[in-house]
């Protein structure tokens, strides 16, 4: 919402400076976004007399002018404007002047061999208008050598304030002045406007055509005819203000409606009465309704839009925009002025549906003052009569102006309860009164009547805000906020919160870099990773590749890896810990921890290296997965690693992590080449995914004591066994069988060699394991060790069909 300082002073009697006003506006909640003070920018420009204008010797389109700038020493200026001529008065900028319209600073220069010491300026160059057809042509009686801003009166600072959606009352300069007066910046001027009687009834009738339960769509419609007007350009002062706030003056009748819209927050509409056929009917739009609106576009309003029609059809979209057909132009002699009330929600919906943003819609959807409906018509009538002449009819008011009585029971103590502010009752009462509230009662509890222009005030808390913002938020003192109990704070994080944090740190210590990728991916990508459910597809995605909630973090990470590769960074180690979606219910959103490696990006080092390249295989992904589980303190004793994983992994180079078939916690492996193709990514890429929510919780323990440390006095012994098995026998099964062969003594087992080739039959492999036996009560004899070995071998043979390698 823009306005100028002089405009504000129409309503506010104040001695405050611009800076004080700006500061106060922000203080009371009308945040100043910008202040443009043309006097500062335009100060160097002076009025000047062009003594002579001769043809430039070297350029057809240029003239060499001698310019009198008021000090009696004419300056030579080269000018390209077609209208530059001897004897004219114009505006001169001396060297060193900044030209806002061109964003340059003038210097003394030589133009085609002729010196030029300044510039004659167009209104465009001064940033005053779009007109750059020629230099400013001042009237012949203009003084020479005075500041142009003073002469032209364009020194009016423009203030732009951001009005929050609740403050429809501040969408008019008058409402802003009211706030400033309440804040002590001056006094609000009274504009008593005696109702305009008019002569004879308004010949055009108005019918509000709505069912009884929809009368709220058009509660009241006031109309008046003014006959015999002369509609030309509006007066300078009005044009200047309209231009200053960015509006284009059209003609007096239209400019009056725009002026009152901004002056009082009261949108109006004017019809050329001679183009209106018959009476006006306000109704829902019908199928087939069409209107060429004032913006030059044709609209087909849907039936929930309210339109104003005559016998010709739709003449105006209620509260949003008028029609071209019945618009007023310089030929208008009879004008119908409309001041109406509309339903804010319907205006908002209609405006959105039609895609029209106007100053009228903006105000109606936020709520205009119903009580000003008829006075607004009178004000407009008076301005029309004053500026265009003519004779007014009586006003015709269809419907009824609602006069809601909103009264709030208000204990003054609410202010202290909610803000901590201690204010005196008279002070609080004065604030409310200045803002137009009516306070009755002298007790601790009073009744407060809300003025008609404040639809936003409904509750005690709203009144507290009014008092607080005018008294000044800086008066609210910061009060230390004590802990609920005076004690060392207890830990606050939940298990999943702790695991989420720790997972990130754990993966990062493995050389992985944390990424945060979009929660939405393309439908095709979602489908490939087991997603793409209809309930997870956005109805209004911002782009087609951001349309579906991600079922996995992998698509985002794979694409990110490829983007890095495309930039020349081929060795990529990324991870993300974030939400994935299996459905639209809250419990279907889980936290996944996912790592991805591409190129030469092993944990031990990136890229090629003299110690060996950081080449990747599935075991690097497995290592990431296990490192994560171990860092989270998940006991891995019961963890099973099952060959194979979800369909997006290489079937032979992937594994599933589970604590039993019904408790799958994740998977790892090489990404399936077909999936990479589908994502336009090059591999190989290895990855691991773990669902943090699926991990078992730690066992509850009564104390923090660790289990007693039991150390054996007896030395462990180690025995190696090499088994020859079919290639498809899993190493895990060999270890499991070995474990079954000796339940008590085995303290550790490891696979130390896997071999296939000469010496091992075709189709078989040799798997060598080392078994550590830890005696607890006595040193093992050779015979005992032999017995254990025999049992282990027998068990492995039985379970896996292995033979001991000779």
């Amino acid at each position: 919402m823009k306005f100028t300082l002089s405009w504000l002073k129409e309503h506010l009697d104040t001695a405050a400076s611009l800076d004080q006003i700006v500061e106060a506006l922000t203080r009371v909640g009308l945040e100043v976004e910008s202040v443009e003070d043309p006097a500062k920018v335009l100060a160097p420009y002076i009025t000047a007399h062009v003594i002579s204008a001769e043809q430039h010797p070297n350029a057809d389109r240029l003239r060499v002018c001698m310019v009198d700038t008021g000090d009696g020493k004419p300056v030579q200026v080269v000018c390209g404007a077609p209208n530059a001529r001897a004897g004219m008065k114009s505006v001169f900028s001396p060297p060193g002047t900044f030209i806002p319209g061109k964003n340059i600073t003038i210097t003394v220069g030589v133009v085609r061999g002729v010196e030029s010491a300044g510039m004659l300026c167009s209104a465009f160059e001064l940033g005053l208008s779009e007109d750059h057809e020629g230099i400013i042509d001042l009237p012949a009686d203009a003084p020479v050598g005075v500041r142009y801003v003073d002469y032209a009166g364009v020194d009016d600072p423009v203030i732009d304030v951001a009005i929050t959606p609740n403050r429809s009352d501040a969408l008019g300069v008058y409402g802003i002045a009211r706030d400033l007066a309440a804040a002590g910046l001056g006094s609000l001027k009274r504009h008593d406007l005696p109702p305009i009687k008019g002569n004879g009834a308004c010949p055009v009738e108005v019918k509000l055509n709505f069912a009884s339960d929809q009368k709220n769509l058009a509660p009241a419609f006031a109309l008046r005819l003014v006959r015999g007007v002369k509609n030309g350009p509006s007066p300078d002062w009005m044009q200047r203000r309209l231009k200053a706030i960015g509006l284009r003056p059209i003609n007096t009748l239209v400019d009056i409606t725009n002026y009152i819209t901004f002056d009082r927050g009261r949108p109006l509409h004017v019809f050329d009465a001679k183009k209106v056929k018959g009476n006006l009917v306000v109704r829902h739009a019908k199928d087939g309704d069409e209107i060429l609106a004032l913006d030059g576009k044709t609209y087909k309003p849907d039936p929930s839009v309210v339109v104003i029609c005559d016998d010709n059809g739709v003449e105006s979209i209620a509260g949003i925009m008028g029609g071209e057909h019945s618009g007023c132009d310089e030929h208008t002699t009879d004008v119908l002025i409309e001041s109406a009330l509309w339903d804010p929600l319907n205006i908002a919906r209609s405006g959105r549906a039609l895609g029209i943003n106007t100053d009228a819609r903006y105000r109606f959807e936020r709520g205009v003052d119903p009580a000003f409906c008829v006075p607004g018509l009178d004000l407009a009538t008076k301005m029309v009569l004053d500026l265009c002449g003519g004779e007014a009819s009586e006003a015709r008011v269809a419907g009824e102006v609602p006069a809601p009585e909103k009264i709030i029971s208000f204990p003054w103590s609410e202010v202290k309860r909610l803000t901590g502010l201690s204010l005196l009752v008279p002070e609080m009462k004065a604030i409310l009164t200045e803002l137009g509230f009516w306070v009755s009662g002298n007790d601790k509890d009073v009744k407060v009547a809300v003025p008609s222009w404040r639809p936003d005030v409904e509750d005690k808390a709203d009144l507290v805000e009014e008092i607080m913002r005018i008294a000044g938020l800086d008066q609210v003192e910061a009060v230390p906020f004590p802990r609920e109990i005076a004690a060392v704070p207890k830990p606050v994080l939940t298990l999943i919160q702790k695991r989420t944090r720790l997972a990130k740190r754990a993966l990062a210590t493995r050389g992985l870099v944390e990424a945060v990728t979009w929660s939405f991916i393309s439908k095709a990508e979602a489908e490939v990773f087991g997603g793409g459910k209809p309930e997870l597809a956005l109805a209004n995605p911002i782009a087609s590749d951001l349309s579906d909630m991600r079922p996995s973090l992998l698509p985002g990470l794979i694409k990110a890896a490829q983007r890095n590769a495309d930039r020349g960074f081929h060795d990529v180690a990324l991870f993300e810990v974030g939400q994935v979606f299996a459905g639209d219910k809250p419990n279907e959103q889980t936290i996944a921890a996912t790592s991805l490696r591409r190129g030469l990006a092993a944990a031990k080092g990136l890229g090629r290296h003299w110690q060996g390249a950081g080449a990747l295989d599935v075991f690097e992904a497995k290592a990431d997965a296990l490192a994560l589980l171990e860092a989270l303190g998940i006991p891995t004793a019961g963890l099973q690693i099952v060959q194979g994983g979800p369909s997006w992994f290489h079937p032979g180079r992937s594994g599933t992590l589970q604590f039993g078939p019904k408790m799958i916690v994740g998977a790892f492996g090489e990404i399936h080449p077909r999936i990479l193709d589908a994502l336009d990514a090059k591999g190989p890429i290895i990855a691991c995914e773990i669902t943090l929510d699926a991990l078992p919780p730690p066992k509850a323990r009564p104390t923090k004591m660790k289990p007693k440390l039991v150390l054996s006095e007896f030395q462990p012994v180690s025995r190696d066994f090499a088994f020859i098995v079919e290639k498809n026998v899993a190493a895990a099964d060999i270890l499991k069988a070995a474990q079954a062969g000796e339940r008590n003594l085995i303290s550790d087992m490891t696979v130390f060699d896997v071999y296939e080739g000469p010496g091992v039959p075709e189709g078989k492999i040799s798997v060598a394991i080392a078994v550590t036996l830890q005696p607890t009560d006595k040193t093992l004899t050779d015979a005992e060790i032999e017995a254990v070995s025999t049992r282990i071998i027998a068990e492995v043979q039985k379970k896996t069909g292995a033979t001991l390698r000779a």
Binding site: E31, T164, V464, G511, V513, A539
Partner: protein, 360 residues
Amino acid sequence: MTDLSALETELVNAIAAASDEAALEAVRVAALGKAGSISGLLKTLGAMTPDERKEKGPLINGLRDRVTEALTTKRDALKSAALDQRLQSERVDVTLPLPQSPAARGRIHPISQVIDELTTIFADMGFSVAEGSDIETDFFNFTALNFPVGHPAREMHDTFFFNPDEKGERKLLRTHTSPVQIHTMMSVKPPLRVIIPGRTYRCDSDQTHTPMFHQVEGLVIDKGSHLGHLKWILAEFCKSFFEVDDVKMRFRPSFFPFTEPSVEVDIRCSRRGGEIRFGEGEDWLEILGCGMVHPNVIRNCGLDPNEYQGFAWGMGIDRIAMLKYGMPDLRPFFEADLRWLSHYGFRPLDLPTLAGGLSV
């Protein structure tokens, strides 16, 4: 006795001349082995008269002892020389570079780091952390938060919607973390203090907006907390978070549907050469919105606004990360460019604590 001294000279010379342990061993065997020269002399002692033995014994034994010692000394010297030689040959080029360690390469995203920082500060003030799902209902995202249906304030949120279900209800992506306020108030009996960090979405995308971003909000509900407390919390938070001794803050009346009174907060800063410094300068920078929880919101959660009161505030996590750590643009936060992540990310073990400081 010339024999003995000649033998000694001969042996000493031979020991000195031995160039390796094998040569030395040969000298030892020749002197002290079974058939060695000194062994031979020692054997003659048995056949001597006591007087002869008394005279020759010490001489021969002395010779044996001296030669033995010379052998030992020489052997030690040779061993030592051999070791030196071996070590010389074992030289490696220690200037060969090593790969950067995993912990030096790994990075934590600034958003995660800032969430950890926030949590650390507010946990100390007794706040716990509440979270909610990204997919929400209209009721929790808007209606319960006092956004009237069709109100312009609702439109300002640029909401992502899902398709309507069979009942005609359409879910949405939460446009702010505030729905979690409602879930919390409905499930936890006051007094309560929570912060709510999380992902939020609006269908808006330009230089300064991304369709997904992160917010954190705070909520206090009890029977006495007021704006003065909120002012204190925010001032303490800003000092602690930005790690400065003093911040100047400006509180402006504003509007949010779910708070009344509503306030926006600016902090004083200077901007020079793209660098923002707090606690100095002439500029104001908007940093957060806050206010007293609207009585309708308290009522919507089944509590009596005349009995319970409290405040809430909300701010952009990405934004305060940018302000503190100087990233110029928002979009790269979500582009996973390794160069950006390595530069602006944090080392894996840079854990923010109050005891050790939030940042290094």
